[in-house]
């Protein structure tokens, strides 16, 4: 194992895990203070969202059950983008006013469904994982190859 595979594997795994923590902390903050993201945090949020979900949120939809109707926010990725661009602490659905922290809660629950899949994917299909096994195995070469090949090797 010449390429220190465990260290390389840790890179993707930890990165996805760390991004998920960042996203969770951002959403927790918005829920606690019933607020929206400012411009600077919005960039960080969207950037970290990409790593945290690895795009796997497109298969799960987010709904908000209102008093009169159930409103769809689209899939998790879309809902996260949409919510990150709100600029007030409430949203009006067909005349019904909803506090933004309620929508953040719905998004957080949906993200918790997506995060484990992203973690699994980060281990299973990452490039590092593929190369982590590279160079493995017993060497079947002789102990001293130069003894047999000499020094007249062709090296273009």
């Amino acid at each position: 194992m010449k390429k220190n595979p465990q260290k390389q594997l840790r890179a993707t795994f930890d990165d996805v895990g760390q991004a998920q923590d960042d996203i969770r902390h951002s959403i927790d903050y918005c829920i606690r203070f019933n607020t929206f993201l400012d411009e600077e945090n919005r960039d960080i949020f969207i950037n970290r969202l990409r790593t945290a979900t690895l795009g796997l949120g497109t298969n799960k939809k987010v709904f908000y059950p209102g008093k009169n109707n159930t409103y769809s926010l689209g899939n998790v990725e879309h809902a996260a983008y949409w919510l990150s661009y709100r600029e007030s602490n409430y949203v009006i659905f067909e005349g019904e006013t909803v506090e933004i922290k309620e929508l953040w809660k719905r998004l957080r629950d949906a993200l918790f469904d997506v995060f484990p899949h992203a973690i699994e994917t980060s281990i299973r299909i990452s490039k590092e994982q593929k190369y982590s096994r590279s160079g493995g195995g017993r060497s079947v070469g002789p102990k001293n190859l130069e003894r047999f090949t000499g020094d007249k090797q062709y090296d273009p």
Binding site: D14, G136, G137, V140, P142, K152, Q153
Partner: protein, 285 residues
Amino acid sequence: MRDLLEISNTIPDRSEEMGTFIDDEIIMSRRIADGGSTIEVLGPQGTGKTSLMLSYACRIMEEHPDEIIIWRDSYKSQCQFNRLKNYEIFAESGVDLEFRDLYKDELLDFPVTMFDDYPSLLKKMSPQQLNVVYVKDPIVGYIRLLSFLRRYKEWQSVFIDEYEDIAPLNQEGDKYKLIGLLGNNLKNIRKGLVSLFCNTQSKSQIDWRVRDTFMVTSYLSGAKVDGISPVYQDAVNSLDRGESWLSWYGKFGRINFPPVIPRFPVFETVDRNAVDDLDLLLSTM
């Protein structure tokens, strides 16, 4: 999350362990009760088939210094045995060898020892070198040689580069019967203290009676995996150069090997007495 990672890191990687087992206990062991072993190396061009075979040849010289090593090389292609410095060239009587430098377009001179029959050939051979044997017809010559070695009670290793030349598909007449005999012989050849290493690009070029008689299969990067092999095609595709999966019946393991690169001069061998296939074909058209 970190705990999960720590756990995943503690899962043992058995592939190296099994690779070591197959290498030590099957390929390199020399127990009379078990006999030798038969290994085929599969891989596309340039993935290291010859390097792996030469690595094993060097290992045998190191670990079994008295063992005779026979190397088979093709006519009209770059000589592979020249990658090692110790070799001796033998030619069957009737073969007139010519060595052509592939870069300088000039003829080279190498000492060639002629032989008439296989008992005298074996007496002339020495350990600690590649004994390169050129015969008139690879099918007839090498099948006779292997059949003789089976009865010769000394440890030998035979390395056949491009073994589709020895057991090609779609032969007719006597050669078809001969290859059938080779298929039967291969099953018992290891009992005659012979270890056989063969390589080819694809098994589909090999006669079906010979194809499945090998104990160990080595898959190099990009090799086409047998349907019955326990090794997944994806695992073979993701190999780098210098790495291989060894499959021994139901078990498989991973090995790696160093590149054994060509040495100067780079040359090819031609039998002056052989009829050129292209000329023969063109003369009948």
